[in-house]
Amino acid sequence: MLVSNIEIIPGKRIASHLGLVQGNTVRTKHVGRDLMAGLKNIFGGELKGYTELLNDAREEAMQRMMQQAEAMGANAVINVRFSTSSVAAGAAELFAYGTAVVLE
């Protein structure tokens, strides 16, 4: 599965455009992590726990999007966009969407 955020895959021709595919996930960290992050707020610096959380969640959102594309019979997702929103305090929603296509 080829994933890209440009619309044209160089050297390939798009045989068919199959439409929108989406992947989303809402994740939280356990309270221990929240506590550490609270402490970190005093000293500053990278919140490794949350970096990891958002990264994992984004990865999963992408997996789900590709799962949808695969179910459609596509072999690539182009023009992929990510969007993040905090649905509830301490919980992050990661959303990925793009157009599933069949490359020749």
Partner: protein, 149 residues
């Protein structure tokens, strides 16, 4: 003690009605998705190259969906342990598909057969005093391509 009773009643009400509303909403979404299958939607920025004359119009659809009490408590519990918040995932999924459907509906009314450059915006609105979510808003928008005949 009365607090506990109120809590349990709210939880039950939230669960029963929330689940009923959710399954009904999913059924309606699936039905309308089949009906609106003629309107195509793509996230690509450029329309397919063509020689037929076309008009473009910005179309959009939004929806605000509220959480129920059960979902809220379940998410609160989940936040103690971390991990996937299933109760909110189905909520945003419903909101997204509903917003897309409303966008497609508008495109259909304009006589369009295709919407390109579709983008989705999510916002959580009416936050409570403690930051708990009240509702989620999704706005779907794109450019409808209308053939001039």
């Amino acid at each position: 003690m009365t607090d506990l009773v109120v809590f349990l009643v709210l939880l039950t009400l939230g669960f029963v009605f929330g689940r009923l509303a959710e399954s009904r909403h999913f059924k309606s979404i699936q039905k309308r998705e089949r009906e609106l299958a003629t309107v195509l939607a793509f996230s690509e920025r450029l329309p397919p190259p063509t020689n037929t004359p076309r008009r473009v119009a910005l179309v959009g659809g939004n929806v605000v969906i509220s959480v129920d009490y059960f979902k809220m408590i379940a998410a609160g519990l989940r936040s103690l342990f971390g991990g996937r918040v299933r109760s909110f995932e189905s909520l945003v999924e419903r909101a997204r598909r509903e917003a897309l459907l409303r966008m497609k509906q508008q495109a259909l009314e304009l006589g369009a057969a295709m919407v390109v450059n579709v983008k989705l915006e999510t916002a959580s609105i009416s936050k409570g005093s403690k930051g708990q979510i009240g509702a989620v808003e999704v706005y779907a928008y794109g450019t409808a391509l209308i053939d001039i005949t």
